[in-house]
């Protein structure tokens, strides 16, 4: 029998309760269960091929504490036998360990919850056929847009999910979300030259298929006219909102993590309440943005998701924490416990950014460009941000889709360039911040202009 989505949270909570009872009967000192269930349809767009797959993040992760020795085990599936296997296995590991973690105190224990994001019924109601037809529409729209379009490679993912967390210290909470994302790379070719453009939509409901293919195709074709920059020099760089979101994520990913601070890998470890950026820079980590599919009521160990001020007027105000590191640092838990990967139940909670929001300025992207005499505009997806050395913060990334800025005007497209600098020094190189407020790849981050990065192309 298929369970109604409205009943998923109570179903998962009852499984948590049964699991905790089983663990208690096995003599655990302390136990935490994270149980997740999700369902999605993922349709690949591959230049006319239709590959549709059912996706799901369905399993259990268990932390078991014996003395102060912590074992973790996971199992795919949410049957009682899977849950009991995870508990038995985690218990065995915790008993096998010989050394206690003297920093361990306790699991999350609070009755507070953040807010769930709105449930978008469109993802519950849409048929598989309509999603497949959406993929088909994107393909034909792009193909018919321009004869130079040779490939469309992407995916539509629409679905819903819920998770529950409980522990033997009394916590029992759940949350749920809906999501609909589209991402596709459009390839254009002319005279043996190939250029591509990536278009992305992120939301909580079924995305609007119409117009997505044409927009991506038109942008791919534009870059067929790109020419080499033919220089290496320090320049001003204007990042559009999608590109700026990747750079800002790179600057915060490791540096504000409470774990990196405590374990000696954060460049900002001793910079709390000091000026680390321009005085017009204010950044929050925000787990409560309603249009964000990641907005849920609790983090992955049951602490309320919230909005945390990271940088205010250029001054570093806070790091982000989960339960373990907040207790070591004697700081407030910020609700940033995250279990990563497509099978989240396989990961122990660790600290991760929720969604970043940068306080917008007043100028649109053209006005930002008008303040730059000479430089480049970088747009789209950057290559290499995720491969950067986040401890030192030195980065050298490639911007595949760029334009020149000449005399304050955005002019001709140029071939890919490398952009080198340092993630942490970049906060002091900001010229201005744009006025966009929409959610993009890494958060609500407007366009941003920087001075003094080394550009080579």
């Amino acid at each position: 029998m298929t369970l109604d989505f409205d009943d998923w949270e109570s179903d998962l909570l009852s499984r948590v309760e049964r699991g905790l009872k089983f663990g208690t009967s096995r003599g655990v000192d302390a136990l935490e269960l994270y149980i997740t269930n999700s369902k999605s349809l993922n349709v690949k767009i591959k230049t006319g091929m239709i590959d549709a797959t059912e996706g799901g993040n369905i399993g259990v992760g268990c932390r078991c504490v014996t003395g102060k020795r912590i074992g973790f085990s996971s199992a795919s599936g949410i049957t009682d036998s899977a849950i009991n296997f995870a508990i038995e296995s985690a218990l065995k590991i915790s008993k096998t360990l010989t050394k206690e973690d003297d920093r361990w105190k306790n699991f999350v224990l609070t009755t507070e919850k953040g807010k769930n994001g709105p449930i978008d019924d469109s993802v519950l109601e849409i048929s598989n056929e309509k999603i497949v037809n959406g993929a088909n529409l994107i393909f034909h729209e792009a193909k018919n847009c321009d004869p130079r379009i040779i490939s469309i490679e992407g995916m539509i993912s629409v679905g819903y999910g819920a998770f529950a967390v409980g522990n033997t210290e009394g916590l029992s909470k759940s949350s749920r979300t809906t999501f609909g994302t589209m991402e596709a790379m459009f390839g254009a070719s002319e005279n043996n030259k190939i250029k591509s453009y990536v278009n992305v939509i992120i939301g909580r409901g079924v995305p609007k298929f119409e117009g997505f293919g044409a927009y991506g195709a038109q942008n791919a074709v534009k870059f067929l006219k790109s020419t080499p920059l033919n220089q290496t020099s320090k320049m001003n760089v204007l990042f559009n909102n999608l590109t700026a979101s990747q750079l800002i994520w790179g600057s915060l990913y490791n540096s504000v993590s409470g774990k990196s601070v405590i374990e000696g890998r954060s460049a900002f470890a001793d910079k709390l309440n000091t000026q680390i950026g321009e005085p017009f820079l204010t950044i929050h980590d925000n787990g409560q943005i309603p249009e964000d599919p990641k907005m849920v009521a609790i983090d992955d160990e049951g602490f309320p998701r919230k909005k945390t001020l990271l940088i205010e007027k250029g001054v570093l105000k806070s790091f982000i924490f989960d339960q373990y590191y907040s207790q070591i640092h004697s700081a407030e838990n910020t609700g940033n416990a995250k279990r990563g990967g497509p099978q989240s139940y396989e990961s122990m909670p660790s600290i991760a950014l929720n969604t970043i929001s940068v306080e917008p300025g007043t100028k649109d992207i053209k006005e930002l460009a008008s303040d730059i005499e000479t430089g480049i505009l970088a747009s789209g997806f950057l290559m290499g941000v995720g491969h950067s050395e986040f401890v030192s913060g030195d980065f050298s990334i490639v911007a595949p889709t760029c334009h020149k800025i000449e005399n304050g005007e955005i002019t001709t497209p140029i071939e890919p360039v490398t952009i080198a600098g340092n993630f942490y020094k970049a906060f002091n190189q900001i010229i201005a911040i744009g006025n966009e407020t929409e959610l993009t790849y890494r958060g609500k981050i407007p366009s941003m202009a920087f001075k003094g990065f080394t550009i080579s192309g």
Binding site: V43, S76, A82, D394, P400
Partner: protein, 474 residues
């Protein structure tokens, strides 16, 4: 298991399925991570479930179940058929299967002396403790010390509409050390070393590859980086070290040969079979089984996730593009034989064309001769990974390096970024060393279409490449 799966396959065929593939994966993964001498993570993961890939009138549908009750398994097959039917009317390019001869009674067990999954927990912990002791002995101003142990073992069962029956047992071991040193100016410099692949614990007893050797190398390299300079920006001659060459083979070139990208024309070499793309020093192999020795820690993969034997494939030979990497459906579309490259990271995903062990073959130079031939340029070492775009633009990162003049190392460099277009770069390969190194890991791995961390082998010799663009600070 085979009987139950085949009964369901027959039912789906009676409901109209053109072809059905069924896969049972049961993987057990154990990891221990210590961070600054504390246990950060000690865990066991069980991934067990069944997935069905159903073909219907040119469309495919995939569904799975982690619930191994008969009803749940059958329901996942029904879901897969329903999804395929939903897609059938929208198909412009059909996914179909060319019949293959049925394979029966395949049951391949791993051939290793000391399986990691059989030793006691304390022995695994001891490997990490040994690394910590050595790293502290050789390191300088260590700000952070992380050590990792990971192992994967289990079984894979495959059957399909041809009544093929295959059973085999994947395994991996991964041991690594990362040391971060802090300079007097407060800058943090990291370096790491790893021993990983489808290997037994006996491979950790070989001189130069013991846990102590990994820790010593990590500590000394991090210490050396404390005085390293930023790499210059611009175009230079380069000597790329073996692991970095492996990333070049996999990330910068291998992905471009994957059959799904070829069929959808999302690769710049989709129409270049038989054309010369590189110099005579460029020969790249992709294969499921590479004979192992002390420098070759490849991944062991006898069959892919569509039950096709993992072949030895020459992607590019002396610069000439020879073949692509295929699943059964992409092979059918291009009218070639499947190569055994259809892989899924676990039972929750459908198999798609992926690489296995991908590497450049070796040349005849010693390292000294290669440095001499390099003359002046950048010696780029180890990797933080890389990526490639459909136009051939690539980026890959070296963890460290040296500035070289007149064939002599002058001073160490911090991490460097190599970029450019792969089709131009392959033409500029001027020589290769004779030492071949291959490794495959559990921590890390390949990501594609949402299937992250698929274990793959990468490697090669050291390559001399002219006119490489380095992104760095002016």
């Amino acid at each position: 298991m085979f009987d139950e799966l085949q009964a369901i396959i027959s039912k789906m065929e009676s409901k109209g399925a053109d072809f059905v593939e069924a896969r049972y994966d049961e993987l057990l993964i154990r990891t221990i991570i210590k961070d600054n001498e504390r246990i950060q993570e000690c865990k066991a993961m069980k991934q067990a479930g069944i997935g069905f890939n159903v073909y219907y009138k040119g469309a495919t549908g995939y569904a799975f179940s982690a619930d191994l009750s008969s009803a749940a398994i059958e329901q996942s097959a029904i879901s897969a058929l329903g999804i395929a039917k939903a897609g059938a009317s929208a198909v412009s390019i059909k996914s179909e299967i060319e019949p293959l001869k049925s394979i029966k009674n395949v049951n391949i067990k791993p051939d290793i002396r000391e399986p990691a999954w059989l030793i006691e927990f304390d022995d695994k912990m001891e490997i990490l403790n040994r690394m910590e002791t050595t790293a502290k002995e050789y390191g300088k101003d260590i700000a952070s010390l992380k050590v990792f142990y990971g192992e994967l073992s289990g079984e894979k069962i495959f059957t399909n509409s041809e009544r093929t029956e295959i059973q085999w047992y994947p395994f991996l071991l991964d041991v690594r050390c990362i040391v971060t040193s802090k300079t007097p100016q407060g800058d943090l410099m990291s370096a790491s070393d790893v021993r990983a692949g489808s290997i037994g614990l006996e491979q950790l007893k070989i001189k130069c590859y013991t846990p102590e050797d990994l820790a010593k190398n990590s500590a000394l390299w991090a210490k050396e980086k404390m005085t390293a300079k930023a790499a210059p920006a611009g175009k230079f001659r380069a000597l790329c070290e073996n692991v970095l060459v492996g990333v070049l083979a996999h990330e910068s070139f291998g992905h471009l040969t994957e059959g799904d990208f070829v069929v959808s024309k999302a690769t710049p070499i989709h129409d270049k079979l038989g054309e010369t793309l590189g110099s005579e020093y460029v020969t790249i192999i992709d294969e499921g089984i590479t004979p192992r020795d002390e420098k070759i820690c490849s991944m062991w993969l006898p069959y892919d996730d569509q039950g096709v034997k993992a072949e030895h494939n020459v992607l590019i030979e002396k610069g000439v593009l020879k073949e692509y990497l295929h699943s059964r459906s992409t092979a059918k579309l291009l009218n070639v034989k499947p190569t055994g490259n259809a892989r899924a990271v676990n039972f929750t995903f459908a198999p798609i064309p992926r690489m296995r062990n991908t590497y450049f073959i070796s040349g005849d130079l010693t390292e000294e001769e290669a440095l001499k031939q390099l003359d002046t340029g950048i010696y780029a070492i180890d990797t933080l990974g890389g990526q490639v775009e459909m136009d051939g633009s690539f980026l890959f990162k070296a963890v460290r390096g040296y500035w070289v003049e007149n064939g002599e190392k002058q001073y160490p460099l911090k991490d460097v970024t190599l970029t450019g277009n792969i089709l131009e770069l392959l033409k500029n390969v001027e020589g290769a060393t004779k030492d071949l190194v291959i490794f495959s890991s559990y921590f890390g791995g390949c990501g594609k279409d949402g299937q992250e961390s698929l274990p793959c082998g990468i490697g090669g010799p050291k390559l001399i490449i002219d006119n490489v663009r380095f992104g760095g600070e002016k």
